[in-house]
Symmetry: C2
Subunit: 299 residues, 2 copies
């Protein structure tokens, strides 16, 4: 079983209190796909420019990420530049150059249309609809979004919520979407907008899961050193969806475990810039931290 991931690939320039990296691999689909690749083969649908490095393309393939759906267009790859505050809780976007992403129309290779597990990473909801239109009989579709689409494409986003099983959103977006400051109420409100399940990400304070039949709280793995939070939400989603796809069993237990795997993957991601930590990560590191988190939280 493969996971289909649709989203962006970028070259990021990021500054945090601990350093600065220019033109490093990033983007929602990249982070998510890489995290999911620890569990299952990934089919990637995204766009890059003709400047996208052959080395990076090779890297994706070596990680079990199929690139048949990766469009390589004339022009430059999407660029994003940001700076984090001292405590890493605030981020200022300094530049967004969409480049080839501006005219991106996701197109699924024929063999992807029967995908059962799909993650629609952050993209214009109109494009997320286009992907759903191309799918035959998906089993589980999860999607992410961002404040920009809540503000500018609210109608399209609202329709999308009725077409997906799982909606993944962070706390400030959830508050913005629902105008409800209490996160538990906000989560319930979003459930009523369509999705069967809602995952509300709280960064270093974990995540809340709201389903029709059960709720779950996952804490974040406690870390002494956080260097760069970029992509953590996508890595969380990738770990979550990757594990679920591998299990191919939609039980309470697999959802809970998937949330913990998402948390664990994200905890590694923030320990270094870009995908540096994930690149070196081994499956046994993940399982070790999974067991450790059990010891830290079960009573």
């Amino acid at each position: 079983m493969s996971l289909l991931v649709v989203g962006s690939i970028a070259y990021d320039s990021v500054k945090t209190p601990f350093g600065k990296k220019d033109e490093v691999l990033g983007g929602s689909a990249l982070y998510c796909g890489l995290a999911a690749s620890f569990f299952v083969p990934v089919n990637l649908v995204a766009v890059v420019g003709s400047d996208f490095s052959k080395r990076h393309l090779k890297f994706l393939r070596e990680r079990g990420i199929d690139t048949k759906g990766l469009q390589i267009k004339k022009g430059k790859t999407f660029r994003w530049k940001a700076e984090y505050s001292y405590d890493l809780n605030m981020r200022k976007t300094l530049a967004t150059h969409l480049n080839v992403l501006r005219n991106f129309k996701p197109k699924l290779p024929e063999s992807y249309k029967d995908s059962k597990y799909i993650f629609l990473a952050n993209l214009d909801p109109d494009l997320q609809h286009m992907v759903l239109d191309e799918l035959n009989y998906p089993k589980l579709v999860a999607c992410d979004t961002m404040n920009l689409w809540i503000e500018r494409k609210r109608d399209s986003l609202m329709k999308l919520l009725k077409r997906v099983e799982i909606f993944i959103i962070n706390e400030s977006e959830a508050r913005e979407l629902t105008a409800e400051p209490n996160l538990i109420k906000a989560g319930r409100k979003i459930c009523n907008l369509g999705p069967k399940m809602v995952i509300l990400k709280k960064g270093e304070d974990g995540a809340l899961f709201f389903g029709k039949h059960f709720k779950f709280l996952s804490v974040a793995y406690p870390l002494e050193s956080v260097y760069d939070p970029t992509g953590s939400g996508d890595v969380f989603a990738g770990g979550f969806m990757g594990y679920l796809t591998k299990q191919n069993k939609l039980t309470k237990s697999s959802f809970k475990k998937a949330l913990i795997y998402g948390t664990i993957l994200a905890s590694f991601n923030v320990e270094s810039f870009s995908i540096e930590r994930l690149k070196k990560l081994r499956r046994e590191d993940i399982d070790k931290r999974y067991k450790e988190l059990k010891r830290l939280t079960h009573f």
Copy 2:
């Protein structure tokens, strides 16, 4: 086995976005003692003024709180007035009238001197030392403090940390005490200052426990309605120490469970002003939420 609680009793006036209450029962020892009384008899050492209501005195006794160590002094009971921000995360103290608390010297009745379990709720660390000087062979002493003492009585507080087993502190105080923004590092640093264990309270984001032999993370019980956070830290400590005293067994397992009971008690406390919710609380309500939190977090 009884728990000895030493701290303040106050009449509080509190305003939150959800209402306003004047001259209601409060104070660190009151909140903590009341929470602990769900598990064990409590011996209370504090001071009130001659204006302290007989009805309140009767209430304490009915709750199994022994008042032999409660000094009733000529003058007014300690008054505290505060207002909370819209999201309840910020609090502004509007007035602090120490009144009889100004010259308080805690004195243990003879029968309290053999206490095994002791909670030193927030008070001037000089007074907390005085209590420790009077004790014969305590088994487990926990203490709390506040930013005021970190700033004004740092030396006394540092000495105190070498005399207690457990130090309970909230996140901003931990950062202030250690000048370390990362809470995991801050927790470890405080352990190195003397106490065998440190509990770092993060409000609605749970608590971190640091021991010599193990760490633990407790999430907060998720609530849709929070009305007044006053006293929650003391209620958490009271639930924690009350359960440990009842068990009278210092194992990993009892520490973990005690942290969860602390969390649960605090979750009830914030659901109403002053001690209103705790007054109506039944032991079965506590156990129900305990089981629910297990369902919400175990994977």
